[in-house]
Subunit: 399 residues, 2 copies
DNA sequence: CAAAATAAATTTAGGTACTAAAATTATAGA
DNA sequence: TCTATAATTTTAGTACCTAAATTTATTTTG
């Protein structure tokens, strides 16, 4: 949905405030392209709502001293519940600055259906909030992240691997159970939101995020906004077909998905194929991975080929993405630094050779370590973005 | 660049006016989501500038009769110069409704450099405008379309096959030579603009356009706006890599480009490879194509395999696009109806099998015959969009 | 044929949200 | 204490919207 000018300005002010903190009103005006006269009422409103703190600083020279503005960490709290790669629930309570003030994990016990999953989310959220120092009424909203296809506008889960009951109205169900507003999005989108809201300063407005985990995911920001498809569904990079003939079979039912070559599960699965081992489940894959990496480093030829191909195909896929969408930056996240070492030569080689000449070297591609906290931060950002946009009527001061 | 609310509203009103023509102010208010009171001054301004005509209609029932509004064809004229698939210049003068009132082709004689090309554009434009019934001062702007990588915001040509001198400031050069404002864009973007502005009613706001010609191109509209990359460059679908290993070599220097399998030149080239013929140039390809199609229809097995693969790979590529971007509609254009017959079974089969289940059948994919006039229409739309947005101060009426 | 009914379009009153410029405020230094 | 100065706020003016009232142009009705 298109933001109105004033919503857009408010959001810009807040993003700049967060990024340049501590910042004076005058600086904020320059950063956001508005005049000082426009900043005053926006900051007044935010301060009145407790989202922004003012801090007097001794002036270094003459003239009226600047008033430093900061996000008020205690301005609002968000409960974030996600299912990161560990496979367990991570429930965190975060403040306005994206810092976790309370954090607990809970086991995910039942993976039958989305309805059961929603019930478990409700239970663990209620438990963790009760265990936290905060009262449930101090929580402004709940943000949920799922490794699933989600319509983030409606809160409907379209599809989630191994869970039956697609097209399930997850957000509404949870909201009814908890009695707090609930927002939900796909895990990759959460990481992208975290990057945009709590990452670099000034905020990066055009980037693509790619994550190499057991699966392979992607998300994209353009013009300072998360890109969502016409049905609210995010980029399914992992199930992009990279091999058109005789490709490896994917759990999605298709063949030749990028995910079957350039993901952690792909590497372990192919190793098992080599050795004739049975392919383990998610947990088994994770425990096998160090061995696979060690063997590769030790010079195992067939394994090295598998890693070469992993890097190469990822490079081709990202080159394709650059050729199609011309992003400004690409950030490839991984929790396995050793994997990055093993694939980066092949990756950058393929990236270079498959990007069209005029676009070559335009998009900056960097590897970065995944911070698992960013799932929660993204959930916080999702909720805060809504909080920021909503405009309360300014209580008329007794002028 | 982000449009302001009022620019956005004006544009919306005009798109709806064009699409629903003839339309009353009251209808326009409903279509564009504004109130009647907002429509009045917008239409007043457009009428004052001669872009809109009012037409009294006898009222069918009681009440004040509606005033029908139409685009005034004579409100502004645009000179469009493009290089469609024929390889020659097509220079047309179009009215506000996208109708060509004058049309001539001129040979493209010199393909050395972009500088020479720009000079030729200037020459043919000046000649054709002189030959037309219109004075050059009646032309509001010139719109240029090129089969090239273009930054449509700056008018710089980044790269154009067979023409040397990339990063050439085409629009500025031409503007200096002609003395009229010049806008320039990539051919695929022009087709997409034509589709959005002069196509279906109500205007389609989310679609991807794909063209099967000698090359293979793509362009995308999202949220009612042409999607451009961070460097103003459009989707290079043709050079997406579809085969990662031992792919066919492409003139771009890469291997495995979709264009080397699913384009007219790919079909002819592969036929020549089969028969040991030398691969002809652009014109030769076109003349050979009917034979290739006829032989395939007659049951030539190896050729049929080539066509099967053409359809299949295109299906995979578009499925990948759907999985990544979730477009609402996809329109595949071709000037060869027989080609469509030959590939559509394989295409739809591959499309279906490679689209993720929740997205399957969500995006409507249709084949359509390419109307070569749409290059010019797109050039007109590009210019008109600018014209529409610009706001002249309303001459204060003697109230 | 005048009056009533009706639908389209415009005007009016009110509000929001900006800008540019003036005024105010809070400090340091003379 | 007075002056200079920089940050911020206020003021006056403008653009552009909405909702509601009004005007306009027509047909239908009595």
């Amino acid at each position: 949905m298109r933001l109105s000018d004033s919503e857009y300005h408010r959001l810009t002010v807040l993003k700049n405030l967060r990024a340049a903190e501590p910042v004076s009103r005058t600086e904020l005006a320059q950063l956001s392209g508005l005049t000082g006269g426009a900043i005053t009422p926006i900051v007044r409103d935010l301060a009145a709502r407790g989202l922004v703190l003012e801090e007097k600083v001794p002036s270094p020279n003459r003239g009226r001293p600047r008033v430093n503005l900061r996000l008020n960490p205690a301005g609002a709290y968000v409960a974030a519940a996600t299912l990161p790669s560990t496979g367990d629930f991570l429930v965190e309570i975060l403040d306005l600055t994206g810092r976790a003030i309370f954090s607990q994990t809970r086991p995910l016990t039942d993976t039958r259906s989305l309805a059961v999953l929603a019930a478990q989310f409700a239970t663990v959220l209620a438990e963790v909030i009760a265990a936290s120092p905060l009262d449930i009424h101090a929580i402004a909203q709940v943000g949920i992240g799922l490794p699933a296809m989600v319509d983030n506008r409606t809160g409907v889960v379209e599809y989630m691997a191994t869970f039956s009951g697609g097209r399930y109205d997850f957000a509404a169900t949870l909201q009814a159970l908890l009695g707090i507003p609930v927002r939900i999005d796909n895990n990759m989108n959460l990481l992208a939101r975290a990057e945009h809201w709590f990452g670099a300063s000034p905020p990066v407005d055009d980037f693509t995020l790619i994550l190499i985990e057991l699966g392979l995911g992607g998300a994209r920001y353009q013009n300072g906004q998360l890109v969502v498809g016409s049905h609210g569904i995010e980029a399914e990079l992992g199930h992009t077909k990279i091999v058109p003939e005789d490709g490896r079979q994917c759990h999605c039912g298709g063949f030749g998905c990028l995910q079957t070559y350039s993901s952690l599960s792909a590497l372990v699965t192919q190793y098992c194929d080599l050795t004739g081992q049975a392919v383990p489940g998610h947990m088994g894959m994770r425990s096998l991975l160090p061995d696979v990496i060690a063997l590769t480093k030790a010079g195992h030829n067939s394994l090295q080929d598998i890693f070469h191909r992993c890097g190469k195909y990822l490079g081709i896929a990202i080159a394709n993405h650059i050729n199609m969408q011309d992003p400004e930056r690409i950030i490839v996240l991984s929790s396995e630094p050793e994997l990055v070492d093993l694939i980066s030569d092949d990756f950058f080689d393929a990236l270079h050779h498959n990007t069209l000449e005029p676009l070559r070297n335009l998009a900056r591609v960097t590897f970065r370590h995944l911070d698992e906290q960013n799932y929660s931060r993204g959930a916080a950002a999702m909720v805060l973005e809504q909080l920021y946009q909503s405009r309360t009527t300014i209580a008329s001061a007794d002028a």
